[in-house]
Symmetry: C2
Subunit: 446 residues, 2 copies
């Protein structure tokens, strides 16, 4: 939490009021209680003539180890050829610093700051923002009472060069499937051929989830997916998207779909299921002739409006139980959903989005793409539904930033122009006074 | 290799000639060369009137970490309730010490040692005895020229209490199935739904190997399995085997078969396939929403007479390529067999087995079971085919020793009575002079 302390001290140096809010502890499945990191609530400026912008960021990161394939130490920011490499450089420490730097710029140039700021910075986003929902409920009449809208900069452009504004994200329902045999690992020579291997059961369960075309095989899972309207499909046609560039960024040779529209539709507004790995099986290099006693498969479903989390959970459980029952296995099956984040969609015609578009035009000289994000920023949805405030997602990281991957980076260019675009955005929104106090955009999903 | 040094110094203290033979290095798949541990060749006694017994043992062990579920430090021998817990206590450090202790006993009691001894002790058994085959070829006319037979004590009884002699082991063909997509891991939000996930391909491949009844699905894999004769089936009927005890030892609630005969046949003389795990996928506790770029599935086939390793390799490769081709995946598939050990069978009517049986009757007061072992001791097969000497497998560990598992142990009782039975065996074989120079038992497998 070095970064948490840095953000707090920079805010304090700007003259902001900074409160560190204790979120209590979280109970793990084994009963152990782990203390949650605090959330920082900051406040700078109270001019009733100015709109009040709340910036959300997180300072926790995905796991990273040098031996995963990093070419530099993931926890030492390292510049190579104009890129700043390090875990969290884009997701999400870089954008947090860029926003604070933009505010500092007004101070350094002795300019009047044209908006009031609030800051909310947490340390549990990658683990599902544990404790945040409760805090938002508690603070919606206090900290959030004067807030006009919330800015989140926790995702990427669609391109390596062209800026974008984001109006929707998919949800994320993570599942653990545990299959347990006896109480200890067995030798494959001494027991191979006479036991129902838990790992074989698990592999059959995982293999039942998705067909080779990427279609999810869980009965009913597509029932509540919003129908695609003609107007929505048109929106996709105008988006600039270079499939080859996206392939190069990712190292992927061939996607499941060949047209731009099909790819974006399946990334943004249709659900997907990914399998992440297995806990409890042999995972090291070399050979271990073991029959693991207890294995836990990890997969997640990126769900979309109007899929309901509790229905999804039930469909997954029923499907897995059904597949398992056909195997006549004496092993024990347990299915759980340790994390469930809802999808989010905003209105691209909101004046807030138009202001951000003008700021981008000023700094980058071109209009942004209006995009959605296949990944999950649950607080976008959380902020909208709890505080009833407008939410805008305003990324500054490029498509090749490698968030959650090896060699995550932010380019020096994106970091500096990102700071400028935030400053330009402050000026644009200071002009929106009258328009911001209208009703917030309607809920477009469940 | 502390144990290697201990064994060498104990042998030297007995007056044995001890040579440490350098096996050179082994090239890993990435091109790196690793030095192999040496093999100890020891020699004690050269009386031409006495038979010469060669004892084989290994001092390397399976991986073990406290957090795998050990209740004591796996590398500190710890006695609890008459059991000696520690990695290698039964597999195979305990039996190596028991044999040396038996020889020491004759010295301590100032008795004439009735046989000549040779010792071969290696440190690579758990990794496929790399380098040993070459050494045996080189030494078959030298070190092994005067050897009458070879004793291996690297397996377990069938029961917790009743001793056994082993006349066959299964082979072990280990396979790596690698599926590689792009050159880096991807975020499941940013790519979920539009890429062919390597882990999904791998899971489909692994799921195609065995059906829920334990039957291997690889075409042709059973073609060369020796037919079961009526005489052989009869042998199984007389074996004392408590299914419930075996279940309790292993923590398994239900086996794939319900009769003693079916269980033992599938453990000893039919092939089995076990899946051990996956390298490269997320394997830690918690959640990581990653699409791994490269994953390697690990499985092994315990093969039996007369399955041919090169045919098995080809059948596995063809099957996996066939399943993979139906998925239309752009990912890259690689199949390799990093380890292939052949099965072994001996003649239970050999005078050597009869001598061992008498020694067991003397010390334990009952006849042993004549059993096979589902696991692989490749050097049994290696010694027999290269040196053309008789091989006997003479276990002293009980069925609940937990080799390759957490909390491996040898009981104080087995360790001490095992030492005694080896000493009694020396006396029995000293009577076999004339019979041991006959032709060795015929090769019963390929």
């Amino acid at each position: 939490m070095q970064m948490m302390a840095l953000a707090a001290s920079k805010l304090a140096a700007l003259g902001a009021t900074v409160n560190s809010v204790n979120l209590g502890s979280h109970q793990l499945p084994d009963g152990q209680h782990l203390p949650l990191p605090p959330v920082i609530l900051g406040e700078l400026g109270k001019d009733p003539q100015n709109p009040t912008v709340c910036f959300y960021g997180h300072v926790d990161v995905q796991p990273a180890r040098r031996e995963d394939g990093w070419k530099t130490d993931p926890y030492t920011l390292t510049e190579i050829d104009g890129n700043l490499y390090g875990r969290g450089s884009t997701d999400n420490k870089g954008p947090v610093l860029a926003w604070i730097n933009a505010v500092e710029t007004f101070r350094a140039l002795k300019l009047a700051i044209p908006v009031n700021f609030k800051f909310i910075i947490e340390g549990m986003e990658e683990a599902g923002s544990l404790g945040l929902e409760k805090l938002l409920e508690e603070e919606k009449q206090c900290f959030f009472s004067g807030v006009d809208f919330i800015v989140i900069s926790d995702n990427l452009w669609l391109s390596k060069k062209k800026p974008a504004l984001t109006y929707g994200t998919r949800g994320n329902a993570c599942f653990f499937v545990e299959v347990e045999g006896g109480d200890k690992d067995l030798h494959s020579g001494t027991f191979g051929g006479i036991v129902h291997e838990p790992l074989m059961d698990l592999i059959a369960l995982l293999d039942s989830l998705v067909d080779p075309t990427g279609h999810i095989q869980i009965p009913g899972i597509y029932d509540s997916v919003a129908a695609l309207t003609e107007e929505e499909r048109k929106l996709y046609e105008s988006i600039e998207y270079d499939i080859e560039e996206h392939k190069n960024n990712s190292g992927v040779k061939k996607f499941l779909y060949s047209s731009k529209e099909e790819i974006l539709l399946h990334l943004w507004r249709y659900p997907s299921l990914s399998i992440h790995g297995i806990e409890g099986a042999f995972h090291e290099p070399g050979i271990k002739t073991v029959i693991p006693a207890k294995v836990i498969g990890k997969f997640s479903i990126r769900q979309v409006p109007y899929m309901d989390l509790s229905v999804v959970k039930q469909q997954v459980e029923e499907h897995l139980k059904n597949v398992f029952s056909k195997r006549n296995s004496p092993n024990k099956l347990k299915v759980s959903m340790p994390l469930g984040a809802k999808p989010w969609v905003a209105d691209v015609n909101d004046p807030l989005y138009k202001a951000a578009r003008r700021a981008i035009k000023t700094v980058f000289g071109e209009d942004p793409d209006f995009i959605r994000d296949g990944s999950t920023i649950p607080i976008a949805r959380l902020f909208q539904s709890i505080t009833q405030k407008r939410v805008i997602m305003f990324p500054i990281g490029a498509a090749d930033a490698g968030e959650h991957s090896q060699n995550e980076k932010i380019s020096r260019h994106n970091y500096i122009e990102g700071t400028k675009v935030f400053a330009a955005f402050f000026l644009e929104i200071s002009k929106l006074r009258g328009q911001l106090h209208e009703t917030s955009s309607p809920e477009t999903n469940n």
